[in-house]
Amino acid sequence: MHKYIGKSMQRKEDYRLLTGTGMFVGDISLTNMSEAVFVRSPHAHAKIVDINIEAAKAIEGVYGIFTAKDIEDIKPLTQFESHCFLPPNLVEAISPTINFNYEDILAKKKVTYVGQSVAIVVAKNRYIAEDAADLVEVTYEPLQPLVDPYEARKEDAPLIQEHLENNIQSHFHVTTGNVEQAFSEADYIINEKIRTPRLGSNPLETRGVVAKFDTRNQELRVWSSSQMPYEIRSTLAHCLSLPDLSIRVTAPDVGGGFGPKGGVYPEEILIPYLAKKIRRPIKWIEDRMEHLTSARQSRDQIHEVKVSFKQDGTITAIEDFFVIDSGAVNFFALTCAYNSAYHLRGAYKIPNYDSKCEVILTNKTPNVPFRGAGRPEVVFVMDRIIDIVARKLKVDPIEIMKKNMIQAEDMPYDQGILVKDGHQLIYDSGDYPDALRKAVDLVDYEAFRKEQEEKKKEGKLVGIGISSYVEGTGAGPYEGAHISIDPSGHVTAYLGCTPQGQGHETVFSQIAADGLGVNPQNITVRVGETTVLPMGQGTYASRSAVNAGSAIYEAALKMREKVLKIAAHLLKTDEELVIDEGKIYAETSPEKFVTYKDVGRAALPAKLGNLPEGMEASLEVTHYFAPPTVTFAASIHMAQVEVDKETGFVNLQNYSVVHDCGTVINPMIVDGQVQGGIAQGIGSALYEEIVYDQTGQLLTGTYMDYLLPTSMEVPTVEKAHQEFKSTRNRLGIKGVGEGGAIAPPAAIANAIVDALHPLEIKTNDLPISPNKLRTWIKEAEASFQALQTN
């Protein structure tokens, strides 16, 4: 039915990016522009005793050096209102506490993490600014750093946010069924501690801000490498006490984000403030070492789970207590925390579930959502549980998955608790057992098992591991689209979402093209700029295709109606009209048509145009789409590994995925999102970890120590698709952005266990480095031998 939706169209974005003519924030150059450098704390927790800027100020080319006392009129950055809002029924259900916490734009009395900004130097260029920053002398008096969340949550621990009573910034409790009863009736109970470490999203483009004050319009112009320009606008307006619309924020080409470029950073407040104050454009481009210390980080959860199950493999209850190490501030309230709690059971029917969570402050860089936002952590927990149960019962993990999986006929399936938006957690569509069957076929599971036995005889240890997830995608509250058709018949679509490589200009022109009956080439999509639409949210949480996609489709349909009316008027016909490639005609007489250009001219005001009686001039339509609740994408991942038992090295040989994201708009882009997400998931399974020492010093301060996967570590993923349409928007779209990153840790961790079987190891702690795995292997060998001798 659709002509362009569902087609792998080449991207409109590519030409400029391939020819070096894109416009990233670092590429912006303005007359009289200066550059800024931050002086950052080398301490995790310390009092600021004195800051001496005299020597630094004396350097030629320095325009200004500012510390907290110079910017007292800026309000601090607090937790983001939009993410703190919880609907009353959810509040009643989970009794949450979210304590107020904040970060000063420049540290005032004390610093609370390594990399926190203490002062800023503005100079003629970055080289001079760094010369001056070197000479800023800050005297600190170290305070006791809190690095371990378990230590930080103790009653007598020193306070990180001093106005609070303790370091437990927020907590909640969600429950359904009766875990106690299930435990008392269980055949088996296991207790596991499962950890996902702290990660960085590491987009290849670091953060960056350019700002200038336009004296003519009295407008603050801000360019930022951001996922949420509207959030920057409203937060800037709040912190600087300015009207929202006196600020114009642009996210130009953004070189990747993955979550941590969402929200608002102190730099995004301070650079615009100073540009206005010193009346000179300022550019600040984060360098990679700053990025590794100061760009916000993610994951960092420890789960303590108790699981009961029956002899036949039925999992009857899960009780979870988990902590999130939030670093020095929690800006996103329960976003990751509740995502974790409501996603843990995934594709499984586990009627009794109880989850308690604490978000704990420590002296580390603040923790925020990153691709998957709380889901990779719990999918790792859930699918490690499936594997552990299977090993305990000595059956293939697939049997345990099948035994507990929600069946197609159960849809829509109610998990018995609420989504964060207050809607009942009801999966809209999908067939998980079918996905599992497809995945089994894709890898030829039976053949692999045979091959595995053969290889074992040759001393080669190969294994296969599975993970699955169900992800609530397309979170609201809304996203908008505006369509404008000019008198030449060209369509321009404006959207409030902000891409960082997802191909919005391409996919939204595909959707608009089908809605309007024009060729995507005749559509220009404008995004990433607060003036294109009065309100918008941003791109995160696998939400843009669902929300902005629906908004543009609805707007296009509204526009189509108006276009058809004008065309009927021009063609002087009452017949039903069709639109194809911009031509509008009655099916009975296709030779007699008008074009969008004709309609565009007809829509001109007054006598310039030619409109049906009473119709308003111009072709302008706006639609805001607010989803009823999230839509549920799902996937099965299978990893095949070879383990070198003597060294602990893991070679990921194959990776396969069966994926459902509802209606696919552009298969090429969907596959690209899945492959790219999996690469990040592979990173978190085997390589990536942000490490702090016991004094809160960051040890992974360069790319020599924070290990991003390269082309040698990421295989080409085999993919198969399902297309169970969402029932929650007209196009049936579910989100796809995060999915790939969610399941690899469990799939790979389980594959490693499988390869080493019958040695019993537990891969419950990521990343699985060669050193760690070798240690587990040695421990398992020792206990295996002990068992043999006993």
Binding site: Y127, D134, F649, V691, M704, D705, T710, S769, P770
Partner: protein, 297 residues
């Protein structure tokens, strides 16, 4: 991440470079390819007053065969070694190893002298030089001396090079001619192109019965300096490779290294790992020697 200010000097001869070194000594740094130095300059961990750019000294760019060894001028780039037919024929272990140095873009710029002078015990070239018992020619205004790796490498990133000296040439002995010689270079790194967690290199010569008559073994990344595993070399001579013998070698090797732990591997892990790697290197070198896959020379 921008370098702090320095004065830039660009000598066009060794003599001129040495004069600068003599004059500015402690306050200067030599830059050639810059692949190790520029990151540190960018981080401002190194803030020299003078930067002496030796990359224009054409006379130090050569690969030639001399009296029993391949002489490589200090300013010869890795890529030139990688592509050298002479080295492929006369010193194949070096070819195997150099592929592990960083990535192509690094090898296109980085120089042999730079790698050696950097003195990184995890680096490939120092390990090969140590295995083959090569030599380093260092020069100052007054004198030129030839030193062995055991005297040149002092500890992590520290060498015997004085502030008025520079590395002029690196000499890799021509590998033993003959039918039954094999070599192997084994490295494991977290990712391709990273610093090796551990490196092992072996050259094994066999007699007609398959008994080992020559063994050169060295390890890197597990000791403050690259290390010849002499005890293991001695142990192998006159014996036939067997599972038990290799196990003994592995244990012996683990005992004689002194690794430090870091984020990517504890000291204990590296100690065990190096035994495994050297065992594998000997196995491979022996197999190659026996099968005569490579007839050196």
């Amino acid at each position: 991440m921008k370098p702090s200010k320095f004065k830039y000097l660009k000598p066009s001869s060794v003599e001129e470079a040495l004069t600068y070194l003599e004059e500015y000594g402690d306050d200067c740094k030599i830059i050639s390819g810059g692949q190790s130095l520029i990151p540190v300059l960018n981080m401002r961990l190194s803030t020299p007053e003078f930067l002496i750019d030796v990359s224009g000294i054409k006379e130090l760019n050569y690969i030639r065969e001399e009296d029993g060894y391949i002489a490589i001028g200090a300013l010869t780039r890795h890529v030139e070694v990688e592509n050298s037919q002479l080295i492929k024929e006369k010193c194949p272990l070096l070819i195997d190893a150099i592929k592990w140095v960083g990535h192509k873009q690094i090898r296109n710029r980085g120089t042999i002298g730079g790698s050696i002078a950097h003195g990184d015990p995890s680096a490939e070239l120092p390990c090969v030089l140590t295995t083959l018992r090569g030599e380093i020619v260092i020069a100052s205004v007054d004198e030129e001396e030839v030193v062995g790796p055991e005297d040149f490498f002092l500890t992590y990133l520290l060498t015997a090079l004085q502030t008025n000296q520079l590395v002029k040439e690196v000499r890799f002995p021509i590998m033993t001619q003959g039918e039954r010689v094999g070599h192997s270079f084994v490295e494991v790194a977290r990712r391709h192109g990273d610093f090796g967690l551990a490196i092992a290199a072996a050259v094994i010569g066999l007699d007609n019965q398959g008994l080992i008559q020559k063994a050169q073994l060295a390890v890197g990344g597990v000791n403050p300096v690259p290390l010849v595993v002499e005890e293991a070399e001695e142990l192998l001579i006159g014996k036939k490779v067997s599972e038990a013998l290799l196990k003994e070698v592995a244990e012996l090797t683990s005992d004689c290294v002194d690794p430090e732990g870091d984020l990517h591997g504890s000291a204990d892990y590296r100690r065990e790992l190096i035994g495994t790697l050297l065992k594998r290197a000997i196995e491979e070198a022996t197999a190659r020697a026996w099968e005569g896959e490579e007839k050196v020379g």
